[in-house]
């Protein structure tokens, strides 16, 4: 075997992974280790691979990813808290040929935006909803979300979520999978390489479905919020695997 220097490997023709061109130049503003970054990349990679950046409209409501438009180099709208599916409906109905997606957090999608989520799903709007479930309100400083686990601490459940008074964590993904308007509903995660690849496939499918006019695709990504959970990124991913996933089971809930 010939002696091989690193410089021999690091050559443009040997690249097997690089940042998608659809990222802007701005560094992501997310906390170190936050799953939002991975999901941002996957969405952009799918758009790039499908070659549809000129036909894609993204909608990010309030939540840490409110700034998605700073990082995604595609046309984007920032929506009021909870209302992204309404905006998406408003857009897609008159842009049937465009690819429209929302990128929403769990507080946004499953608390204040419940009605808009359920009804966009029920109408079967031909859009993709990318749903980041980190079990907490990240942006506002770690308050309890509808998806916060029983007993889990947050700034508004400092002694742990008490399901008796604060309600049960809500599996909205299961709920919308029961609506006839949804066609593809899946739950994924991004804390291991294998799971990232699966998530990407699901996101790709959500975009492909639009091309085929299939109706609503809904991809939940169970993700970490190490700031809100008050853990290191690595700890948070471990905690996620051990606590979130048993409750929020990964897999395809519906694919019609």
């Amino acid at each position: 075997m010939a002696e091989l220097r690193i410089e021999d490997i690091i050559k443009p023709e040997n690249i097997v992974f690089k940042k998608t061109k659809l990222f802007t130049d701005k560094p992501l503003s997310y906390c170190p280790g936050c799953g939002h970054g991975v999901v941002h990349r996957l969405v952009l990679e799918v758009i790039e691979e499908m070659g549809i950046e000129a036909e894609t409209i993204g909608i990010a409501p309030v939540g840490c990813s409110v700034l998605a438009y700073e990082f995604m180099n595609i046309d984007m709208v920032q929506a009021p808290h909870g209302r992204a599916p309404a905006l998406a409906t408003g857009i897609k109905r008159i842009h049937t040929e465009k690819f429209v997606f929302t990128y929403q957090g769990d507080g946004d999608l499953a608390a204040i935006g419940t009605a808009e989520t359920i009804h966009a799903c029920n109408r079967g709007e031909n859009i993709a909803i990318i749903f980041i479930n980190n079990g907490i309100y990240g942006m506002t400083g770690g308050q309890m979300a509808p998806t916060t686990l029983p007993g889990m601490q947050s700034s508004t459940s400092p002694y742990g979520r008490d399901v008796e008074t604060m309600g049960h964590p809500m599996k909205i993904t299961e709920l919308v999978s029961n609506l006839p308007g949804t066609r593809f509903v899946a739950r994924h995660a991004v804390h291991t390489p294998a799971l990232v690849r699966k998530t990407k496939k699901a996101i790709r499918k959500a975009f492909e479905n639009q091309k085929e006019n299939k109706g609503l695709s809904f991809v939940e990504v169970v993700s970490n919020c190490n700031s809100g959970w008050k853990m290191s990124p690595v700890e948070s991913n471990k905690w996620l695997a051990e606590n979130m996933l048993p409750f929020y089971e990964l897999g395809t809930l519906k694919d019609e």
Partner: protein, 76 residues
């Protein structure tokens, strides 16, 4: 059989030191630097470069997409 060799480049100034890549590497290539970058973060680097297979795992999980991966086939 062709052996595969890889290498990664970390965009040091954009690495946030989250350490998520570290555990994702099947061949234990990566470590965190002792130095910090301009933003005060320790950054990932190849401690055992010869073990890298270019499997892309680290880049796949890096939340800030700061890793570029290279791979070549080495005739064995």
């Amino acid at each position: 059989m062709a052996k595969v060799r890889g290498a990664i480049v970390v965009d040091v100034e954009r690495c946030k030191g989250c350490e998520i890549c570290i555990g994702s590497c099947p061949t234990d290539v990566l470590r965190m630097s002792v130095d910090v970058n301009g933003k005060g973060y320790h950054y990932a680097y190849m401690e055992n470069p010869e073990a890298c297979t270019g499997c892309v795992n680290c880049a796949t999980v890096c939340p800030d997409t700061v890793i570029t991966v290279y791979r070549i086939k080495v005739p064995s």
